[in-house]
Symmetry: C2
Subunit: 345 residues, 2 copies
DNA sequence: TGACTAATTTAGAGCGTTTTAAGCGCTGTT
DNA sequence: AACAGCGCTTAAAACGCTCTAAATTAGTCA
């Protein structure tokens, strides 16, 4: 609207074109092949050549073109990651995926789920980038869709159990996690421990089972008490009110996740119930909320770093060592004791 | 480790190679040029040809190769976005950037900031992908670094005022936002309104100025009261205690951001001060926290959607209409009234 | 010195697209 | 008769890199 109207298709500003391999080569009087070798750190070129090439490249501000090199080498060295950009847990996973991928010489392409972008779109995007393997965080697509995707590029599902999955899965043992919570509470002297359920899905089932099994293990079969709940704060509040109304307050409550636990906490405190003095509360996920000083929630961490490492490792096995039979990697979650659990009085 | 050890460089599983343009062309007995035209929806090919090509492409499951097409067309149709993946506000921006970019036929590449990836790395990554323009969310690099980057590819800084910036900037008027808060409080009858400061930086200055100016505008010069604070919950708690200790509780407190406001809220409530009955509290940012039922914080929204739209629009002006002189786009933030503000008694 | 080997270097053919310019068999106009 | 134009199609040359195979140079030893 302001200045020259000459079409600037891809320049923006009248920038000089980026230097190419050829420009670097011309500058040192070598072939592009040699320059390519030096820049990729391949054995061959002499020490003297290396130095000269590196110097020239630096002077020119040369920056290799991913596209061209991917095309020529038939390797994109890209790992596609599907994430829910609103999830703090995914954020942490991505952080560790980055470092794990970097260590093996790969770069990440992120494709986010939004209100208008579903999982299929994310898959399309990642495939269009010619990612060599796909890491799917919290994928909810049916098993056969994932299996089909896996046929186009090795896919690894992180964080979700998939029955009869025909692809790699990396996850933590949710039943074990809840088991650890119950153990912790029992060790603190609690016997009357209630559980607020999640909505539905594989994870929900696993965590509930973890609660039941642990209670039985401690001989507390009769004290098993599962309240209806969901993954939201609101559901936690409702469960809290239900508990208060019942007139039979347990000494500890375990919630399906942190959000729900926080709702629960709010409801209890509002009613004048001291946490953890009167009732202990535990969540699950160790999300950012639980760390806030005003909640300081005891919870279970899903061990993002280890899950990320394993996911990348699984991708490498498929990509570089040709593994074809799917694997399921189940990690142990770890209890994070904070301020909402205390010894019974 | 399990099966065949034949190298599978980029296949993973023994997948059939992806169909190319040539395969589609062969299937309908046309040249790749025609197929390319049809697939890109370029005028020329006849209706009959279009149908046949589309059918064949669908049957083969053809998916164009971004790399090859970027290389050939010298246009990547990619917008690079630098984000802090841990920021909920960035998450929202990204969501809207996606839809805005899609509308103009561009795709997004995300490069995230982590503990081990600084802004320079993010820039490198985005440039290596040959992004046509860069959208930087909350960039803190010095102005000259950003200006230099802008020379390599049109760059747009979102959310941060940059003095003497030699690149496009999209942001909201922070002083105006705080001004709106003060107006709201005054309208509710408040006169004694304190402000808890942030740490340091351009935004902090703007918001503090907004507070001061608004107080003066309402003839409340004498009531101006700025407390030391920071961007954390802990800082908010400290400020809350300072306020309580001072023995001179204002009827309303405005905090630099939501985190700080929540700390403040916690400190006040813990001390038995009713919010909003005795003291009103306001935050800034409208982040996910403020919406939680247990806080229900009155705050100011930065209008992510509009900022995202403007950022993409600015990029398009540079890319497709050749604008070269930098612009600064300042949007008005909007007050979100929730439950922590009330009429004075 | 020449023959032979080892160490470097490079020509050139792709990679899967886009794009330019030319070509198809016509009709219509000078 | 020459040729410009029609609506469509296509051959072939890029794009910036990698990689194979072959060429060149340097080094060693009799």
């Amino acid at each position: 609207m302001d200045d020259l109207d000459s079409a600037h298709p891809a320049g923006g500003n009248g920038a000089t074109p980026r230097p190419r391999l050829e420009d670097v080569a011309a500058r040192v009087g070598l072939s592009t092949a040699s320059v390519s070798l030096v820049l990729r750190n391949v054995a061959g070129p002499s020490e003297r050549t290396r130095r000269r090439v590196l110097k020239a490249a630096a002077e020119l501000g040369y920056r290799p073109d991913r596209n061209a090199s991917a095309l020529a080498s038939r390797r994109s060295r890209l790992l596609g990651v599907m994430v829910d950009i609103h999830s703090p847990f995914h954020a942490e996973l991505v952080e560790h995926l980055h470092t794990a991928a970097e260590e093996v010489g790969y770069d990440l392409v992120l494709s986010t789920l939004t209100r208008t972008r579903d999982e299929n779109m994310a898959f399309e995007t990642l495939l269009a980038f010619r990612c060599e393997a796909l890491i799917l965080l919290g994928a909810v697509s049916p098993a056969h869709v994932l299996a089909e995707l896996d046929r186009k590029a090795p896919a690894i599902s992180v964080g979700r159990r998939i029955a009869e999955a025909d692809l790699d899965v990396v996850r933590t043992a949710d039943d074990d996690g809840v088991g650890q919570i119950v153990d912790h509470l029992v060790a603190l002297g609690h016997r009357s421990i209630a559980y607020v359920d999640g909505g539905k899905g594989a994870i929900v089932t696993d965590r509930r089972r973890g609660y039941r099994d642990a209670m039985r293990r401690h001989g507390l079969d009769k004290r098993i008490r599962v309240l209806r709940g969901d993954i939201t704060e609101a559901a936690g509040e409702r469960a809290g009110r239900d508990l208060l109304d019942s007139g039979d307050l347990p000494s500890a409550v375990v919630a399906y996740n942190d959000q729900c636990a926080i709702g629960l906490l709010t409801a209890l405190r509002r009613a004048g119930v001291e946490v953890p003095d009167t009732v202990s509360v535990v969540g699950y996920d160790d999300d950012a909320l639980s760390r806030l000083a005003c909640f300081d929630l005891t919870t279970v961490s899903q061990n993002a770093e280890e899950q990320a490492r394993q996911a990348v490792a699984a991708a490498m096995e498929r990509l570089e060592r040709g593994r074809t039979t799917p694997r399921e990697i189940v990690l142990a979650p770890s209890l994070v004791v904070r301020g909402t659990t205390a010894r019974t009085r």
